[in-house]
Amino acid sequence: MAEPAKEIVVDPGLDETIKKLTPKKIEDTINRALTKGAAARLKVYMQTCVHCGLCAEACHFYLSHDKDPRFSPVGKVKQTLWEIIKRKGRVDGEFIKNCSRIAHTECNVCRRCSMYCPFGIDMAYLLLLVRRICALLGVVPQYLQDTVNSHAVTMNQMWVKQDEWIDTLQWQEEDAQDEVKNARIPLDKEGAEIMYSVIGPEPKFLAQLLGNIAIIMTVAGMDWTMPSFDGWDNSNMPMYSGDFETMARVERKHFEAAFKLKAKKIVMGECGHAFRGAVYDGPKWLAWKEPPVPVIHAVQFYYELIRDGKIRIARKFEQPVTIQEPCNIVRGRGLGDMLRYIMRATCEDFRDVSPRYEHNYCCCAGGGVINCGPPWKKSRVEGNKVKAEQLKATGAEVVVTPCHNCHSGIEDIVNYYKLGMHVKFFSEILVDVMEVPEDLKV
């Protein structure tokens, strides 16, 4: 296997865990994962790939690393899964560590490459399979594993305790009342139309986003609720570490919270991977073909509010602004037009990006990569030089990222490449520009 291109990263989640592995454990785990766990899809992909390398041009890691073939999608699979299969699972701990580095930290499972493959081979699926093998062996970057542990204990991503969650909602409700009369975050309101769910970092670091949604929901006159109990977090890092049992447990809680509250739909905050977990990967593991309660992403929700006149725009945001399109809701769900609709409805000077829609580049933070933490930050931002160039070319001063991972990832890119831009969630723009009816003014 090729050496890592950049400096060696120290990560006890890889360095220490491989010390406990034995050749037998590795071989047994791999063979079990590839026979019992992997679908027939693996075999088909193996037989179909002609190693043409057309997928390479799709990958921001490859493009950002001067077209180093080791960073191409097929290169990543070749260094990991194909080698594993070729050697019938007889690989060592160092090899597994490199697999984790490649699969967990150098691929965002963004699926851009599958659009470039003439056979539509889903390389992200294969790299997720590599992650699954690593996870079954206990080899997962430390920060990502810690997040997974948090999910397993608390059903949220950030070790948020049950009292901290409720308390945060209560003080955010009070803050929102300073802006809009009688703004509320109705807790456990049985039979509400909407259960609103968010990701762990909101109560932990970005509590004002909860206040913002209270303002938006109150002005729009929505019948909504949030659970005071576990199931409020829609995010899912175990989906990305390869711990699918924990992934499923978290998703089940999320939907059972909606059942318990008798909510007709779930509206989720601005997060892309959470959408993927709740709409695709989670339900699938649990045997639901579709989410058992419809899940609406914030972008669609805001689109509907503005389109239906439930929220009116008082004055438009003036600074030139562009967008980051979260892969999981744009390439994955086709919300690109709705995103542009809400941007144009609220912003004076919207600068579109190129490439765009499903062809847009990933933020390089998604797929659990940013959750691998500070040790991998440098390789992550260096892996997305193309994104920096793309954003710079718009001349915008503000980037709107309707996804938490994109938000943090783009912020890192903005700082590293000195783009001098501000990063915002769409809801921050919306509360700024929307009209508050007279009777709700404080």
Partner: protein
């Protein structure tokens, strides 16, 4: 759940009573939150904000004497005592019928009752750390964290998942050693696990079972701290057999999901999913929500599933009091309804609440919602009257009448309606 004696003591004669005109409350209180109705239908209450910005509970138009900085999670317990969480001087506690528990906490949440409603418990965070307070008495031991809990049927014990050691930030190795267990009345089990979830008490209150994660990908059920000697790929919440100490839980094996009793598989059939197992009142039958195939949901009783499956979801099964019939909420094409013994009602709804069997088990009623209005549905037929708000109907002990608690034009009514007039 109300006992037969309790049900018999309710007024089943008065046909209609206007209990409260909630419209009138608006002149007294600038803010009124969600209403709750007592089980017997005699009372309607809501958290309200007073003119001076404080919170209290308004019951049938009269407010409690005590007012608070905050008041929420208001509900009538099984014995119809009005219970909620309140904050005063930055201390949280429980208020029951206008009386607060003596002790205050940094935080209190998650009110739970015993089936008879006599015992009330909450999660608390206090000076000692995290624990549970049961009937105004807090665990002596505090923990780094305690999440959720179960209350024993006799009202004497509470059991919660507790963290026994503090964990440094990002300490994945400390976590892997196991720092979670179950504590019963503050006393932790002797053994720690990676995780504990889904705690249940035996019917005689002497035993506690929980899902435990013994290794990263190794799951089992532990009873009083001892895990089953069988490990599974995954498990869901255990329950005790109604008599004795045997435990039943959904488990995942290579071929799929099924139910296991004390670790031994009891159903031959495997499913793509199985959960929410329930015993019939006589303890002889077991029903569970299952997916015989991917994307197809139904109920299995004693291992064999209904023929009819549903695409979106099936919610936990409900047995008739005579144990003979099973009903469940089902959902298909985003329409909710009830299926009884595998046959769904023809009409679909925007939302439906748990089916309620008549005492003899021959009739099924449910509260349902369509286009913003609420209805009583009886054996699949939508009732004549539409309501602005409604609570689930309750059958009279002789099964001939239904107690209907509803709001129309802002007025709360208690009605007793013969089933044939629904």
């Amino acid at each position: 759940m109300q006992s037969m004696t309790e049900l018999e003591s309710w007024d089943w004669e008065t046909k209609e009573r206007l209990v409260a005109d909630i419209n009138g409350w608006r002149s007294k209180f600038p803010v009124i939150h969600e209403c709750v109705a007592s089980n017997d239908g005699e009372k309607i209450s809501a958290p309200v904000r007073t003119e001076d910005g404080r919170f209290t509970a308004c019951v049938n138009g009269e407010s409690w004497e005590n007012t608070f900085e905050k008041l929420w999670s208001l509900r009538f317990g099984p014995d119809d005592r009005l219970t909620c969480l309140v904050r005063e001087d930055d201390q949280w506690t429980v208020a029951v019928d206008d009386e607060t528990w003596g002790e205050g906490f940094e935080y209190a949440w998650n009110i739970q009752f015993t089936p008879d409603g006599k015992s009330i418990a909450v999660n608390v965070k206090g000076e000692n750390g995290y624990g549970i307070a049961l009937n105004n008495r807090t665990w002596e031991n505090g923990f780094a964290e305690a999440r959720d809990f179960a209350i024993s049927p006799n009202g004497e014990f509470t059991a919660a998942g507790v963290q026994t050691k503090r964990l440094g930030e990002g300490d994945i190795f400390g976590f892997a050693e196991g720092i979670w267990t179950v504590a019963v009345n503050g006393k932790p089990w002797g053994k720690n696990f990676l995780n504990v979830w889904g705690i249940a008490f035996s019917s005689d209150s002497s035993k506690v079972a929980a899902e435990v994660r013994v290794g990263e990908y190794e799951y089992a059920i532990a009873v009083n701290g001892t895990p089953w000697n069988k490990i599974f790929k995954c498990v869901w919440e255990p329950i005790f057999y109604p008599q004795g100490d045997d435990v039943l839980a959904p488990v995942q094996v290579d071929e799929g999901w099924t139910l296991a009793k004390n670790g031994e598989l009891i159903w031959d059939r495997k499913f793509v999913q199985a959960w929410h197992q329930k015993f019939s009142p006589d303890g002889q039958r077991i029903a569970a929500v299952v997916a015989p195939e991917f994307g197809k949901w139904t109920i299995a009783v004693d291992g064999s599933s209904w023929n009819r499956t549903f695409r979106d979801a099936v919610l936990p099964p409900v047995f008739s009091p005579d144990s003979k019939r099973v009903a469940a909420i089902v959902k298909e094409n985003n329409r909710w309804t009830v299926a009884v013994e595998g046959s769904p009602w023809v009409e679909g709804f925007d939302m439906i609440w748990d089916p309620v069997f008549s005492p003899s088990g021959d009739r099924v009623a449910a509260k349902a919602e369509k286009e913003g209005k609420f209805y009583i549905v009886l054996d699949g037929k939508i009732g004549k009257q539409e309501f602005e708000a409604l609570w689930s109907p309750i059958f009279s002990p002789d099964g001939k009448k239904l107690l209907v608690r509803s709001i129309e034009d802002g007025k709360y009514y208690r009605r007793v309606i013969p089933v044939e007039e629904i």
